[in-house]
């Protein structure tokens, strides 16, 4: 049996505090009421999302779409993951901010300190006990979340990443709560400070990011979003290329914004020589590193704050522990950031072409007007039960539709009231009897004409899937554009092909400017 209890020097894993806290935490009906309520809410939300997604998927696609189920799965998964993240943000500080200060306020702290129990063990016990409860909530939701596998469209890796990020966020915010609890020694103040910090990390950073963008009229530095748990989760679970579209009431624009815009997405960014500095790594990796460091720093500071005497005097054990922790952090960041892990090869573009003019990046898809989800799900193609023999579809040819597609995308994607163009680089098509799928890179940019000069505005690029269908009017129609279904739709070799063929943005940029010159300046 593993000897957990009688280690003389190490902090014991199972210590009296944990036994006591768990005993009293789970006593009474409160703990079970919270757990039950939490799971009920998650369940209701999942059901609601399922119905809405089902309705809008049926509305948005022609019959015979194979990826409906995958869309539902993705939407459910993303919805559940974000709801869990929000619960973690709200519950964790409440559980930990009163932990040390509560003992002080109840006058039990002196009694604890008068025992041979080390202050560090008290802290450890308190932390493990409160985080156990938060993690119990996270784990309890796993069976519910696993429903998404019935629908598909979600990779196991995404689920593991999501759970990992949730647990890390819980641990980090829990440690923050403990730190403030030990620092202020008052539960009220600790609670306020913890919630303010969490609010700042989750919303404040996004706000600063947005304001920076608005003020400088440039793509704001994505470093601001490193501390944001929402963008981290978004970058970890939203499929590469997912950027727009409206499925089941889930706004991908939100996720898109949170995950840091076009060049923040893991796949697209690592492929694109958008700017001189490659921004390859997905946000969540930075967030993980920062949160780990924050946790360690807060925890170490708290170990000093909980001591009644000899604060800030660190013994040899402390120094060794500190060195080990620092070495682990260093090794961890070396593994993550030193080697080119995770990106399927960010390669230096053969000719690093500096942008001919300052490229102004902005999320354009925010303002795309999408079909209202409240409309009754009317299938765009009512199966005609007419005895008239339907004419056989003309074989589909993507190139015939290139111009139509580009116009359609420009209409859909560009902000209202702006002039601009979209370039569609078709990578793969699939054609069946009466419907077809196109996957390709889309690059859009707005333009203005001032004093006879062409001024480029905002622009963005993304991978997209465009379904086509054969109408009763005997022509191919565009069924919409979606940005989240690549993984579900394309066969693996196509996905590899997408990865291996980065969009040549410089060429796309040139094509768009050429079109803009012709159409706007009449050259």
């Amino acid at each position: 049996m593993i000897q957990l209890r009688n280690t003389k020097y190490a902090i014991r894993i199972i210590n009296p505090i944990i036994v006591k806290e768990l005993r009293t935490h789970m006593r009474g009906s409160r703990a079970f009421a919270i757990l039950t309520g939490y799971l009920l809410i998650l369940g209701l939300l999942a059901y609601g999302l399922y119905r809405i997604t089902l309705a809008s998927v049926q509305q948005g696609y022609g019959p015979g779409m194979t990826s409906q189920s995958a869309h539902i799965g993705q939407t459910l998964f993303i919805g559940l993951a974000f709801l869990e993240l929000l619960s973690v943000c709200f519950i964790t500080p409440a559980l930990t901010a009163g932990v040390i200060s509560g003992e002080i306020e109840r006058r039990t702290y002196d009694m604890l300190l008068a025992t041979p129990l080390r202050p560090a063990s008290i802290l450890w016990g308190k932390m493990v006990a409160s985080l156990t409860y938060v993690n119990l909530l996270i784990m309890a939701a796993i069976p519910l979340s696993s429903v998404v596998f019935l629908f598909g469209g979600v990779a196991l890796r995404d689920v593991i990443q999501a759970i990992g990020l949730l647990a890390l966020t819980a641990i980090t915010y829990g440690t923050l709560g403990l730190f403030f609890s030990a620092l202020t020694r008052r539960t009220g103040r600790a609670m306020v400070l913890s919630y303010l910090t969490v609010l700042f990390l989750a919303l404040g950073s996004a706000f600063i990011w947005a304001v920076t963008g608005a003020v400088t009229n440039q793509m704001p530095p994505r470093e601001i979003m490193y501390v944001n748990p929402l963008s981290a989760l978004a970058s970890a679970i939203v499929s590469p290329g997912a950027s727009s579209g409206f499925y089941g009431g889930m706004s991908y624009e939100l996720l898109y914004l949170l995950s840091g815009g076009p060049d923040m997405m893991s796949l697209s960014s690592s492929k694109m020589p958008m700017s001189a500095t490659p921004l390859g790594r997905p946000l969540w990796q930075y967030t993980t590193a920062i949160y780990l460091a924050l946790t360690v720093v807060c925890y170490l500071l708290t170990t000093q704050l909980v001591k009644p005497v000899r604060r800030w005097r660190i013994g040899w054990r402390g120094w060794i522990g500190l060195l080990i922790v620092l070495a682990m952090l260093a090794a961890g960041s070396l593994v993550v950031f030193g080697t080119d892990w995770g990106s399927t090869g960010w390669r230096e573009p053969p000719t690093p072409t500096p942008p001919p003019f300052p490229i102004v990046e902005k999320v354009v898809v925010e303002q795309v007007v999408m079909p209202e989800p409240t409309e009754a799900p009317v299938p765009p193609v009512p199966p005609p039960p007419t005895p008239v023999p339907t004419p056989a579809p003309v074989p589909f040819s993507a190139s015939e539709h290139q111009a139509a597609l580009e116009n359609y995308l420009a209409q859909e994607l560009l902000p209202e009231g702006e002039t601009g163009f979209c370039d569609l680089d078709i990578l793969w098509t699939r054609d069946s009897a009466d419907n077809a799928d196109i996957i390709g890179w889309i690059y859009c940019r707005t333009f203005r004409v001032t004093d006879g000069e062409l001024i480029p505005g905002v622009g963005a690029s993304t991978l997209a899937h465009v379904p086509m269908y054969w109408t009763p009017d005997q022509e191919w129609q565009i069924g919409g554009a979606s940005f989240g279904s690549m993984r579900a739709l394309a066969p693996p070799e196509v996905q590899q092909q997408l990865l291996d063929n980065p969009y040549d943005e410089a060429a796309g940029e040139e094509r768009l400017r050429e079109r803009a010159r012709q159409e706007l300046l009449g050259e």
Partner: protein, 321 residues
Amino acid sequence: MNDFIVETHNLSKRYKRRGPLALDNLNLQVGRGALFGFIGPNGAGKTTTLRMLAGLLEPSAGEITIAGRSVRKEPRAIHRHVGYMPDFFGVYHEMTAWEYLDFFARCHDLPADRRRTIVPELLELVNLAEKRDEDVGHLSRGMQQRLCLARALVHDPQVLLLDEPASGLDPRARVEMRELLRELSAMGKTIILSSHILSELAEMCNEVGIIERGRMVANGSLASLRQRAQAGRMLRLHVLSDVAKATALLADFAGVADVIRLNGGHDPTEAWLETYLTGDDRSASDLLAHLVQNGVAIAEFRQVGNELEELFLQLTQDEAV
């Protein structure tokens, strides 16, 4: 090897740098098995001293030795020798009495079999055996205080530090607490307790330290303190015969300051007299014997007011001047 289990040497404490001294060069020596009482007004430094003795507060200067170990050098080692009971009893809610003791026994690293025996034993000792499964928060104040004392005893410490153990208790609970402390003292524990109520300590302590504004004003057994202060006492007599003779006898007795007839009137056969006698218990008994031998009928002979109260006032007054 001396026989003092708790010793402090020039112990001082300042809560703020350049702030006033909360404790000023306290030199304290408590013998093994003593029942030592700390007396002083609120804010005199009693709690400060006890917290430093318990290793919960860092002295600004000076040394503390408990059971031969320096608190400064081994701040954690003394926790095994010392049981500390703070002036306010901290309650964990949703915890039963036995869980409460079991928790602190775990904190003291007691093995499971030891815990299984010590918890019922302690509950028995503090008369809470039948409250074993009751929520700690629902116990009465006196019971909580006794439970808290039991908690301080889980690791069988040699020294018990009790901060105001009788505060907030009703008279009955106070008597129970006193009996409990006597019992513990008889078991050989060294007990250091603090109080601002002197009569409470006078009843049970064999040694007393009077502390005032962070300074130890007097220290020693009650008898020696009394002597040192040369305390006198106010005596009240109920005389049932020959008032004039009794008055004369009293006035002539060595150490008697003056004699007052309390109830007025001129009944020569019955009177309440009050007199101030300087001297110890011996001279009081001599005075009574003297009166009785001379044929004075005495119905009542008692001390008025609290000797300690006066002693205390006298000692602290000196200090204030």
